[in-house]
Every structure is written in C-alpha cells, then in structure tokens.
Amino acid sequence: MGISLYEKVFNRHVVRKETDTYLLYIDRHLVHEVTSPQAFEGIRMANREIWSKNSILAVPDHNVPTTDRNIQIEDPISKIQVDTLDKNCEEFDLLQFKMNDQRQGIVHVVGPEQGSTLPGMTIVCGDSHTSTHGAFGAIAMGIGTSEVEHVLATQCLIVNKFKTMRIIVNGDLQNSVTAKDIALSIIGKIGTAGGNGHAIEFSGTTIESLSMEGRMTLCNMAIEAGSRVGLIGVDNKTIEYIKDKPLAPKGELWEKAKKDWLDLVSDEDAKFDSEIEIDGSLIEPQVTWGTSPEMVASITSKIPNPVNCKDKTVTSSYEIALKYMDLKPETPINQISIDKVFIGSCTNSRIEDLRAAADIVGTKKIAKNIKLALVVPGSGLVKIQAELEGLDKIFKSAGFEWREPGCSMCLAMNADKLGNGERCASTSNRNFEGRQGQGGRTHLVSPQMAAAAAIYGKFIDIRELN
C-alpha cells in the first residue's frame, strides 16, 4: 500500500522510535524574538551547546515598528526583546536578519523567500503559523518555547505521529476568489478543531492551479483549522519558486535535489485517516463575522442567528461573539461597514497579495469612513519589489499608508493597533477577541476584499467589480 506525503517526509527523519513517540530530526529552525529568549536562557543555564547552528535562521518580526526604522523602538519592553534576539544571535553565532537588514520581514515570508524552506524538510519555529512552509512539501510545524530549546540543544523533537487528513479541492475558482477564501471556507466547514491531531494535505486541481503564494496562504491557515501541519505535494511550480533563491542548493546538488523533490507527493494508493472533498467552483469570497475563524460566511449571505443552532454551546459562543462584534443576527454581510483596513501578515503580505490588492485599488481613493488603511509588506524584499512595480504609489495615492515590514496589526504587539470598538477588514488569520487591539473587531478577508472594503467603506462582492 502506498504512503502519504506526510508519512514519506516523516519517515526520513525518524532517529529513534519509542513506544508511543518518535525522536524526529529537524532540518530547519526559524527563530523570532518573542518565543526564543527563554529558550536561549535555558541553554545558557544548563551549559548546553547549540547542536546545529547552520540550521537556524533568525529574524525579529513581531515587535518591530513599521514606521521609520531609523528611530529606535519606542516601547522599551519591545526593544529589550528585539535587543535580546540580537545578543543571543551574536553570542551563539547565528544567522540573523536584523531589523534594519533589507531581508528582514515576517519569519514565514522570509524563510521561503531565502530558499531556507525546502521540500522534504522538517521545519520548526516557535510560532503556530509555521504550517505555512508545508506548501513546499515539507513538514513544518509550530512549537512552544520548551521545544525551541529542545531543538536548539538536540536538533530533534519528541513527537507523536499525526493522523492524516486529505482535503481535495477540485474545480476552477471563480473570478476574484483566492486561496484565502478556500482556507476560510474549509475552516467554516470543518471548524477550528476539525484538524486537531491531523496533518492536512491539500490536493486537487484547484490546489494545483494555485501559485506558491496561494499555497502558502492556504497552509498558513491550516493551524486555524486545528492542524499543526498543512502540506501540499511538490510539482514544477514548487521547483521553479525555489530555483536560484539565495539558500537553495546550486549546480550538481540542485539537479540531485530536484530529482528527489519531484517524488514528494502522496502515492496514488495512499490511505488517509479522513478525506474531505470540496467543489472549488462553489467557493465565494469569505468574510468572518465572529471571534473565531470558523465564524465565517460568504459575501452573499447573512450572519447566522444563534437561536437556530442545535448545540447550546455553539449558541452561546455565537451570542458572545456577536455581542463582542456588536453585530445583529441575520445582518447581510455586505451591510457591514468598517473603520480600518489592514493588508499584511504572514497569510497575505507577499508580492502577489499586494499586486492583487493594488489592482482593486487602481486610481480610486479610500472611503471617507476609513480612519486608517495600512499596507504592511511581508518582508523588505517584498517591499522593494512592490516599489519597483509602483504598487506603493497606487496605495499611497488612494490614501493607504505604506509601511515597513513586520507582523504589525496582525497581533498588535507593536504600535499598530485597533482602538476599542473599531472594526477592521484584515488579511490576517485570527479574529480572536482583542487580537488586533483590546476591544477591536476583526473581519478576516482576502487582500482583494480588504482593498475593496477600503475603497467602498464596507464589504462588497468583488466579483461584481469586473
């Protein structure tokens, strides 16, 4: 019987098998400032060494300001965290793109961009959206700080094997429907716990037709479906994307690697613990209305009425969510008007996302009711590319602010925040209470939908724009 992609990659990395667990070898360790200080401290305290310095790529992203980088970080506590990463990388001699390096950016944008993410790898980072890198046929997963320390010291993790789930999406996407909409509609269907304990492989003709950027967006959101690992088989698009990236193999090694990588797909007769099929052609632009990514609806529909839920826990969570969001049951999605717009985050801040958003903006201006519209590129290199293409000018003349790269208002650890009660169309991945600022209200959407929301001041069906 054939085996799945997840198992193929997993089996390559098993150092030892114990009764319930495996000691799994880790190829790549991405590090950022928030979840690493305590791990480095642990290494120091125990007098341990770092097993493989070359496996590490570090970059500050969560705390960095998105405004002028020549001024020091204003928040003294944020500054300590970024400085601590600098110090740790210097002390242990690790590759880091510092805040003012043009290669700096969100760790999950930087990894693939540098060719630091390669097919067949095991990749970890103290960040749940590490699932992003699974788009390259890798096992990539978020870990906690104790595990960060474990990988630093041993290059291994003690893990259980996940169950496998395959989500097959077939059919042509409608015009203006994106990978983000696929992700949100899947989460709406299986719930935020739907993928718990599973590695989700996405396949089918719709997935094949996605660009690498789109595939990253989809795998990025696997964790919002509860799955630590999301992955997609390797094809020529994967190879093309990696080619010539700074850290990708070159010459003879490249040829060898390529041959190996093209085999990184699930066998035809592979068995999965569960399987779901979705008709990609039916997916409409999605907007979340609540405080969990599973509280999502199509642009053409209405907010559900909690009284109609069969399960009383669901009724009460819907009620709590609607109260927090200050929304009434059965409000049509296209009647929700907004105050702020955020285009950015590791979900949707790559060049393709910015192009798509700029395309919607064109020569139009943002609506009067929009207090702030931010575009935050995922990395310094994305920013440079966008500026070469003149995208920054499109955004700026429409009234958007064009910022320096980082996590920014995805989690509002820096100065970019929603005020109490403000409503935001956001291309990020989490709409939890307070995520973008205390009392802030987040609606997750695609970059195109966010751009349109900025122009029209409310959510509109972008399919009707053309």
Partner: protein, 212 residues
Amino acid sequence: MEPLNLHKGIVIPLDRANVDTDAIIPKQFLKSIKKSGFGPNLFDEWRYLDHGEPGLDNSKRKINKDFVLNLARYKNGSILIARENFGCGSSREHAPWALLDFGIRVVIASSFADIFYGNCFKNGILPITLEKTIMDQVFTKVQNKVGYEITVNLEKQKIYDDSEIAHFEIDSFKKSCLMDGLDDIGLTLKNKIDIQNFEKKYQEIFPWLKGG
C-alpha cells in the same frame, strides 16, 4: 518542572468553547523575556475592566466582578474546566506559564488544541480530555456545590470527587515525564550517539540539506 501525580484542588469553571491563547495571556505580556510573573495577567481582558500593560500594579486595577477567576467561591482553585478546543491559537508557551503562575495544575476540557496540549506537559500542567457529556456533569456539579473539589490520580488515569468521575487517556511518555518531573532535553541527549549516526547517514543521502 514540578512533578505531578496525585492532585486535589478546587475546580474553576470557565464555561466557554475555543478559549484561545490570546485570551489566556494577551500579547502585550509576551514581551517579557522571563518565564514567570504572568499569573496576575492570566485572562487579563476578561478579568479586569481596564486595559492591562506589563508593569502596571494589578491590585489597583478595576476588576470584572463577574468573571470566574474573581469569584470568592473559586479562590485558590487549581483545576480549570472548560469546553472544547481549549488553547487554540498561537504556540505561545506564555499561556501555560500564566496558568501555572496563577496556580493551575490541571485543565480539563472536552478537547484541546495540539500545541497548547503539548506545551502543558513541558511545564507540569496536566491537560485532561473528557467526553462532552461528562464535562456537562462536572459543570453542573461545580455550579451546585461551593468549594467543589476534584482529585486527579495520574498514575491510575482517573479523576474523582466523592466517587469516580472518569478514566482518561494519556500517552505513556508524557505521563512518565509529568510524574517524574523529567527534563526531556536531558533524556534526548542520552541518545546523542544515535542522533550523530543518523545525521551522518542523512547528510549522505540528502547532501543538499547539509548545514542549511
């Protein structure tokens, strides 16, 4: 890490599903470079009526009198119960650090998010998964009895009040680490030779991955 085997404590009911890590410990507190001191800010946005920031004197803040953690009857509680998908969201270990710092040693829910679940064990917190119907019963009992306590026996994988409530599942490795308070880095490093041998072979087969 403090070992955990037999634990008896007052139960705190948090009757919500999808309690996320942003709720457990909001991001502004993630700026600390330490592992301790997060307890006063556990569930900060639900527990206080004003906005919390690191360094504030929490005793001077306005508290939300209705939130369970602020109710006298649950004072000194060490067992938190909640609904499904507890701990969803980010990988921040600050979430279990905050629970532990507050005094929580056991969390019982009908399901957990994977990363949070694993992070608990690294910090001496036992997450227990019970069926929804049993969770309903426990929630009712807590409501009906002030000072309701549960005893957890990890070795036997059982929880009790006056009588047995349920048996729970847990994998043997996690169980023994928690019971003995083991440092798993130390354990892994006992296999150093295995890792080195693996690495050598691995780099021969996949030379393009060598040294990143």
